[in-house]
Symmetry: C2
Subunit: 400 residues, 2 copies
């Protein structure tokens, strides 16, 4: 029988899911810092609004790009939050979370056999989507020494004539880096010089602790940038699967056509939930970010006190911890940590080739879990350090 | 700026959506028989169960292939309805409606540049998905004279060595044909002889008026068939966007990996709605099918009395009406009908090359709309027939 496409058979599973499988097969309690699943339930007014809508007939197909009133509400909210952007409903396509918005862009803009520039470390799905689209990932490294900011000279050395798309992600998963205006402008100039489309993954735009989030599209004078966002992280709505992409109307029309082919439309019920999230009280967003900030401060303090090496995250809810010198690669480290301390983290290798000597710990869970989990990480790092033939991990880069 | 992939720019929009756009720009009341949007709201116990689940924390990411308990419930229901199939939860992947289940199969099993055999007439998304996967649609005609059943000799003449996948759809959209065991066995033999994977779109399996639905997989001794189904039509849940695919565990694992790349998972809330649909009272399903049967009988009688040419649908909720001899192709007919009678139908051409001289009328709307709409179609056909230089449409094939 004809087999599946080779490229898909060889597509790696996310290392995050692999560690989740191990965790779920374990009997005793595990502190779970491996996923970006917010601690909070979806705020009740959102769930209630979705239910009311379902009872009032919003259980039918919607337009492929989403209900007009929901897109209009999102456009208004974006204009309010980022006055430099003034989208209308025609600039939006509603999607099954941010991940599917990214997938549409990758399938639409990357030619089979061509390349897509992906941040390394970066979210594993960028690679999986490149493989799905028969494209080749071209990783641009983000160095810890440079606080995980892109070095344009390095991108210049890597880019090829068959590169179609540049992926930018700020605030970053997994590093927590928030790019500033200079970084973003340099990336846009680079994209201009090489005539690349840019997809800007900004799903953590509201989860910022230092500085401020600048939407890449606000600096884009050429209509080069397609922005991806989601309700998952901001409103603790991961299960509802609603996101959107923001682009010029013509691109939106074409991506809508593609989305019709693949899913018809996102859930009408989830669309109405998102509308309630956008138009309702925003206190819960501030409350959640405050809580994550408290978690971050606790995690950073514990790691620094324990002599761990890391860059303090300014956004998102992850800290990328350097495990170089422990003698373990990220997968072995994650499994050994799970066994020794019953703490689950994501192996850095799943975020790209440069991640082998890192682990990612999420701090969007409960304060107690973050406390217990990060203490376990420090204890485990210390135990490896005291091992005679392993170099110690040093605390040097966590300052400023 | 680098443009979008050519194949997507040139991808046609569904002709159904095009006629919907015209309808929505019209001021006065239009009788809408152009879409397969069931008349009924989602049964209330399903909506309530989804809401309860959301309030009880089911607003988080689920496993990529869906919640274990939901997959187990579906497996039990399938075993109950079709004892020849005895799936477990490991044979199932939950998806964003049936359309996304099909998309996963097409992306996974059709190699770029290779061919996929698609029924003609058939659902337009098969073609859109072939284009998305960089594949070439290979249409196998279903002739009205043959009651829209496949003629294997014709498939034999068409198939090529680079054909990877065969799409089967029974009960059929748009023809209403329900294939019998002989048809299905012949298709399986054909697939065996040419080593094709088969995807069987059975989303109308519960909407059958004559004969009985036989799952293609129940005749498959080789694990060749991947079955696609959905909650949309059976439970009037189109807006919730939940479907599934049924295959061997290994295929499910690979398609789960692909689905992680594209959407992470379907809506957790919709998954719990589907669980309630499957495990709750099934009366509403029988009630809806009875109602559609009444609509069908009314439509068929009106069409036959008016001398229209069509094949009586035995399943699904569409009737494919022959407009040959009216001097109008399906698009012009649909637009002229909309103008003359304010009745919207789907132009047959959107279902494949052979559909140019047909229109598809849906009868899943209210009795009143079906009555008014079909009367309008008959009136319009009669008016064209009385036009001197146009051949009349004849009522010949609707019997038996």
């Amino acid at each position: 029988m004809k087999p599946m496409n080779e490229r898909l058979v060889h597509m790696p599973r996310s290392g995050i899911r692999e560690i989740m499988d191990v965790v779920e097969a374990m009997s005793a309690d595990v502190t779970r810092l491996e996923v970006g699943q917010p601690h909070f339930p979806t705020p009740d007014h959102i769930t209630r609004a979705a239910f009311d809508a379902a009872q009032n007939g919003f259980t039918r197909y919607t337009p492929n790009h989403g209900l007009a009133e929901v897109r209009a509400s999102i456009a208004t909210k974006i204009s309010h939050d980022y006055p430099a952007l003034e989208p209308t409903a025609d600039n939006l396509v509603l999607t099954v979370g941010g991940v599917y918005a990214l997938a549409l862009v990758v399938i639409a803009f990357v030619r089979p056999g061509h390349r897509i520039m992906i941040p390394d470390p970066g979210w594993p799905n960028y690679t999986l989507q490149a493989i799905t689209a028969n494209a080749t990932p071209l990783y641009y490294p983000l160095h810890q020494e440079n606080r995980f900011r892109p070095d344009i000279a390095e991108l210049e050395r890597l880019v090829t004539s068959d590169t179609d798309l540049l992926v930018v992600n700020s605030p970053s998963n997994p590093t927590g880096t928030v790019l500033n205006v200079d970084d973003l402008e340099a990336l846009l100039r680079f994209a201009h010089d090489h005539d690349l489309r840019v997809v800007s993954d900004e799903v953590y735009d509201k989860v910022v602790y230092e500085g401020e989030h600048v939407p890449l599209a606000s600096l884009d004078t050429e209509g080069r940038v397609i922005t991806v966002n989601s309700f998952s992280k901001t409103y603790s709505m991961t299960g509802w699967r609603l996101g959107y992409l923001l682009a010029d109307p013509r691109t939106c029309q074409e991506l809508t056509k593609l989305s019709e082919a693949l899913i018809s439309c996102p859930s009408s019920v989830s669309q109405k939930a998102a509308e309630a999230a956008i138009t309702g009280p925003q206190d819960s967003v501030a409350d959640m970010v405050d809580y994550y900030r408290g978690n971050r401060d606790l995690a950073v303090r514990t790691l620094a006190d324990g002599g761990a090496r890391f860059v303090t995250p300014h956004g998102s809810f992850y800290v990328f911890i350097d495990i170089d010198g422990t003698g373990l690669d990220s997968s072995r480290f994650a499994r050994a940590l799970l066994e020794a301390e019953r703490v689950a983290v994501a192996p850095g290798r799943t975020f790209g080739p440069s991640g082998s000597s890192f682990i990612r710990a999420s701090f969007c869970t409960s304060r107690h879990e973050v406390e217990r989990g990060v203490a376990g990480i420090v204890r485990f790092l210390t135990s490896l350090r005291s091992h005679p033939d392993r170099r110690p991990a040093r605390g040097v880069d966590h300052r400023s």
